[in-house]
């Protein structure tokens, strides 16, 4: 079974400006893990530490017991997939070729039928099969997002990290993608770590929630009903709210109230 352990991780982009403080997290079961927290709290940075895009200043990230610091980028990429928040593609390829890039570790110079099969399946799941021949740059932001998620899925890794996968999606696809990620995690038994801003979607679909607070610390880690509470939300985000249950499945439902403007919570 795949495990992901983060031990005493500190990270900063510049000296004197520490983004993550003493992060400890031990994930031993597959499932959908959502990272929530206010803007600039280090959610994306945490995701980048786990996929070896940046290296922590101190502490270590262990995947299946192996320290990723001692693994090459290639070795890490074989176990950890990463879907960035926005795409940087300057020159556009067709959607099929764009998703095919996710198969980089599985193929050599040419693309084999197996690669195309995974791409086709990912396009089917993301409901973008009719976009296959279109150029990537012709698509909308939401369609870009779907292509990026498809590119993450075809990597077939044991750990998949998504930075705000639902950011540009319409309401239906926000729910669909989160359901899908939960379903994929359960079906394939993999760890999916995703950054999300919608507390209700997080509450409903994640197996566990990681809540970060300023300045880059883990405030709470546990099941949605343990973490998504009115006190926690008020303390971490600085917004009043009511948390009830959704009446159908018994999962937490957040009804937001008035924001509390505070230098301590928001910064200045």
């Amino acid at each position: 079974m795949t495990t992901l352990e983060i031990k005493d991780v500190d990270f900063g982009y510049d000296e004197g400006h520490i983004v993550l403080h003493n992060i400890n997290l031990n994930i031993t079961e597959p499932g959908l893990y959502c990272v929530i927290g206010p803007n600039g709290v280090g959610k994306s940075t945490l995701a980048k530490c786990v996929s070896k895009i940046v290296n922590p200043l101190t502490g270590e990230v262990l995947i299946n017991g192996r320290n990723i610091k001692e693994m090459t980028h290639r070795e890490v990429s074989e176990v950890v997939g990463y879907v960035p928040a926005f795409s940087q593609d300057v020159f556009s390829m067709s959607v099929v070729d764009t998703i095919m890039i996710g198969r980089h570790n599985h193929r050599r110079w040419g693309s084999r039928k197996k690669d195309l099969e995974m791409v086709y399946k990912a396009m089917t799941i993301m409901r973008i099969r009719d976009l296959g021949d279109r150029r990537f740059n012709e698509l909308s932001a939401g369609q870009h997002q779907k292509v990026s998620i498809a590119r993450g899925l075809v990597q077939e890794t044991e750990v998949l990290i998504l930075d705000e996968p639902t950011a540009n999606l319409d309401v239906k696809f926000q729910v669909y993608v989160m359901e899908l990620l939960r379903g994929v995690a359960e079906k394939l038994g993999i760890i999916i770590l995703t950054i999300c801003h919608d507390l209700n979607v997080t509450a409903k679909y994640s197996h566990k929630v990681i809540m970060l607070e300023r300045p880059g610390k883990i405030f709470a880690y546990g099941t949605p009903e343990e973490v998504i509470t009115a006190e926690n939300i008020e303390k971490v985000y600085g917004i009043k709210c009511r948390v009830t249950n959704d009446g159908e499945h018994g999962v937490p439902l957040v009804i937001l109230g008035a924001p509390i403007m505070s230098d301590e919570i928001d910064g200045r």
Binding site: S92, R135, E186
Partner: protein, 397 residues
């Protein structure tokens, strides 16, 4: 508000519904549509008709791209042979091929006047063939790894470094012939300076593509100014020799230069095609590339050194030739897309064809005066390029 919250906290949540289940059918939170989607991930689809259709369409798109590369190579070679035989006192195309073949085997009759004139007309054409290919792959690779449509040997300062080196050699007065080993040597040596500066700066800061282009442009201005100073100081003969070099023309290429140019270009094409798949990943962004197992900074530096050696190697012999490196990859992208596995060989073939044709036109347009290829390409290519950009811009960048 707080009282309400406290009151609501009393409602029990049914935690068991949120638990991990390995059989997704039992997960009450998932809708049926999603369960079907997830199940389809592990289905065998090899018999699926729509999938077979996708496979055949994909295979067709690959065939079209390969066919286009082959076509461009044929056009380039045909144009090269035609260009050689169009020279004064040369034979027809078949005869030209025969003469070149014999010459390669060392069996050519050098006393024959047709053979003599054919071999005389050949080096510039082969220079155009090799130079076009080399400069075009440099542009393609640089644009992809720096993720910038403006990247080429000019904007990275390599060309300016080379011109300064050449200016220094020509103005030093020891050599008054147009092309000489010292010019080539200094042009090459100085073109490596921008690369070293870029490497140094990217080591100090993070090797972000924008930093690299900015540094390159800064270096370009410095070297251009230094070259202008040399022009001011240098006397008449040296100045005109320098102007000749700066204008850039394959007419400067001699038989002796061709082996070096050939080796550099062939290595450039092979290595960049070998790296093409990785360059594709890098062109989607550094973070994405690192997450896909590519050491982004290292690959970009390797690619920069490769393109610097290739472009400097070519420019040193031909003088400054712009346009090919910047524009060929863009035109090819419009037709076959940005996948570097096809873009690189297609750009190479197209660059060759373009440069050979430009050289041919340059020989004919106001004969007997030879118009340098750079001028022809810019005059004709510039407007054509703008027209293409206006027509097809949205989908390419």
């Amino acid at each position: 508000m707080p009282e309400q919250t406290d009151a609501l906290r009393g409602i029990p949540f049914s935690c068991d519904k949120l638990k991990f289940v390995s059989d997704i059918k039992q997960d009450v939170l998932l809708s049926d549509g999603v369960k079907d989607s997830v199940d389809s991930w592990t289905d065998d689809i090899s018999d699926d008709e729509m999938f077979s259709d996708t496979v055949s369409r994909y295979a067709k798109s690959v065939r079209v791209r390969i066919a286009m590369i082959v076509l461009l190579i044929v056009v380039a070679l045909f144009a090269a042979i035609y260009s050689i035989q169009s020279g004064p006192l040369c034979g027809d195309m078949i005869q030209t091929i025969q003469i070149l073949w014999d010459y390669m085997l060392g069996q050519a009759d050098l006393d024959d006047s047709v053979v003599h004139w054919t071999l005389y007309a050949t080096p510039p054409v082969l220079g155009a063939l090799l130079g076009g290919a080399g400069l075009a792959i440099c542009g393609a690779v640089m644009q992809s790894v720096l993720r910038n449509p403006m990247a080429d040997p000019y904007t990275t300062g390599i060309s300016s470094g080379a011109s300064f080196g050449a200016a220094l050699a020509i103005a030093s007065g020891s050599i008054l012939v147009q092309i000489s080993s010292l010019t080539v040597l200094l042009a090459f040596a100085f073109s490596m300076i921008p690369v070293l500066v870029i490497l140094l700066i990217s080591k100090m800061t993070n090797a972000s593509p924008i930093t690299i282009i900015m540094t390159g442009i800064g270096i370009m201005y410095v070297f251009n100014a230094a070259t202008s100073i040399i022009r001011l100081v240098a006397g008449g003969t040296a100045m005109s020799a320098l102007d000749n070099w700066l204008m850039g023309d394959v007419q400067l290429v001699q038989w002796n230069d061709l082996p070096v140019m050939a080796v550099i270009t062939v290595i450039g094409v092979i290595v960049s095609m070998y790296l093409a798949s990785r360059i594709n990943v890098l062109s989607t962004g550094d973070e994405n590339a690192k997450a896909m197992g590519i050491n982004a900074d290292k690959l970009r530096i390797i690619c920069l050194i490769l393109t610097a050696v290739v472009s400097a190697g070519i420019i040193s012999f031909t003088g400054l030739i712009g346009f090919v490196g910047l524009v060929c990859p863009h035109i090819i992208r419009m037709f076959i897309g940005a996948d570097n596995r096809y873009l690189i060989p297609a750009s190479a073939a197209f660059g060759s064809a373009l440069m050979v044709v430009a050289h041919l036109v340059g020989k004919m347009v106001i004969a007997p005066t030879l118009v340098p290829v750079g001028i022809i390409m810019a005059c004709v290519g510039g407007p054509v390029f703008i027209w293409l950009v206006i027509r097809k811009n949205k989908s390419t960048w």
